[in-house]
């Protein structure tokens, strides 16, 4: 389901996955509008060993996936009224996350990964239920992925940006869980997942 557009892209993704190592998740965030040159240099100095850039590229891949997912799902017209009102901003948020994470990587001197070629499993967009259930799964995955990266980020600025995105993903996750009759508050403290676990979760979707 999650296919990289070329062998090269996939290799790059795995390369930074290897750099980040055990922990992982995504973390993305953005230093919202671009930081000044001085700030960028300071952040670069803090983000040693390309670790933070690797984490940002990981986050970017996941945000691309989420953004594409909502754009595709919302086009199907399954939702209306309050559900449509609640899901539409989520798609906007993911789009903004992609933009901000991309510009952050570029500003820090890194190379943003290309948007992956995404192939959704059959049935993903067959109905409101399948769309929202998959959305809920993606959001919970995203939350745990971001929280897995929190202790790994070197730059406090990138940490702040990543956390500010993680909180939004938590809101999304709660609302979606409520919509599909799930539990909006599955844990008193958000769980976290390593990059290895996240990759394992999406691997069946990568051909």
């Amino acid at each position: 389901m999650l296919q990289f557009s070329s062998t090269h892209d996939r290799r790059s993704f795995l390369k930074w996955a290897g750099i980040v190592g055990v922990g992982s998740g995504f973390v993305a965030g953005g230093l919202l509008s671009l930081p000044t040159m001085a700030q960028a240099q300071e952040i670069k100095a803090e983000a040693r060993d390309d670790g933070d850039l690797g984490i940002l590229n990981y986050a970017l891949t996941l945000e691309y996936l989420e953004s594409d997912f909502y754009a595709t799902g919302l086009q199907k017209g399954f939702l209306k009224d309050r559900e449509l009102e609640l899901i539409t901003p989520i798609g906007d948020h993911e789009k903004q996350h992609v933009t901000v994470v991309t510009s952050t990587i570029t500003t820090l001197g890194g190379t943003p990964v290309a948007k992956p070629k995404i192939t959704y499993p059959a049935g993903t967009f067959d109905s409101r239920d399948s769309f929202l259930k998959t959305a809920s799964m993606f959001e919970e995955l995203g939350v745990t992925a971001y929280h897995g990266q929190v202790p790994l980020i070197k730059s406090v600025d990138i940490l702040g940006a990543a956390a500010s995105i993680a909180g939004v993903e938590s809101r999304h996750a709660a609302i979606l869980a409520g919509m599909i009759g799930g539990n909006p508050f599955p844990n008193s403290i958000e769980k976290n997942a390593s990059m290895a676990d996240i990759l394992a979760a999406v691997k069946p979707l990568i051909s």
Binding site: L32, E46, V100, D157, I165, V168, R171, P184, I189
Partner: protein, 253 residues
């Protein structure tokens, strides 16, 4: 609009662009010196969690809710009580002294369902901003991860209660694509009407340069804890030991 106005202002009126701008100014961290140590941050969080827990205990006893709403608010109460216990244990494990439970007064917040839930949303969003604003001060990566984990749950609470109230999706249920941090002074100003006894017990703390250098300093093996980092007693013991080890390293230097 100054950053101060931004954090004091009506958050519903903040555009994503403004949020980005505020975050870019080093995400509006609390002023340097707000928190000298991780224990300071934890005591700050503990006071807020005490306030929230007391709020839900009283509110849920008022019998204003039923069905799913009642179940949701009961779970939120349980989450806040868990946060109080976990943070208290963590402070103790670190050798610190947890602040006393503050005296609280919620006025007419429990007169109606509408007032209860509206006050709840306010508390939750202040909690979200407070954790995000303080995150950069936390030096210990394990405590940071746990605090971030609590922050995310407060965001869930805020979204769900906002939705129960039927607030607009954007600006009510969600606060844009990025959460907005709040400085300590603004959080205390927002919480003070509900505190019968003030937060004077929170150590003022000496100046610290903020989270940047502190976080960069922490190169210990804490990363190895990875996902295990919860604030529970077991995890607290582990990182207290690591923290002590690091303190010795610093002395040795």
């Amino acid at each position: 609009m100054s950053r101060r106005d931004f954090v004091r202002g009506e958050l519903n009126d903040i555009s994503p662009a403004q949020a980005l701008s505020a975050l870019n100014s080093r995400w509006a961290l609390a002023a340097p010196g707000d928190f000298a140590t991780d224990i300071d941050v934890l005591n700050y969080a503990l006071t807020l969690e005490y306030l929230e827990a007391a709020f839900y205990i009283q509110g849920n006893q008022a019998g204003l809710l039923s069905g799913t709403e009642q179940a949701y608010l009961a779970k939120i109460q349980a989450d806040e009580e868990f946060h109080v216990t976990a943070i208290t244990q963590t402070i103790q494990q670190l050798g610190g002294t947890p602040v006393e439970k503050p005296g609280v007064m919620f006025g007419d917040a429990f007169d109606t369902r509408l007032k209860y839930l509206t006050t709840s949303v306010t508390f939750e969003n202040v909690g979200v901003g407070a954790y995000l604003g303080a995150a950069g001060f936390i030096k210990d990566k394990t405590i940071l991860q746990a605090a971030a984990g609590i922050f995310g749950v407060e965001a869930r609470h805020a979204a769900i209660v906002g939705n129960l109230l039927g607030l607009p999706a954007e600006g009510g249920v969600y606060k844009g694509a990025f959460e907005t941090p709040m400085a300590k002074a603004d959080v205390l100003a927002a919480a003070s009407p509900f505190l019968a006894s003030q937060m004077g017990a929170v150590p003022a703390g000496a100046a610290d340069t903020g989270g940047g250098s502190a976080a960069a300093k922490d190169e210990s093996g804490l990363y190895a804890l990875g996902g295990a980092a919860l604030l529970g007693a077991a995890g607290a013991a582990v990182y207290a030991a690591r923290r002590n080890g690091r303190a010795e390293d610093e002395v040795a230097q």
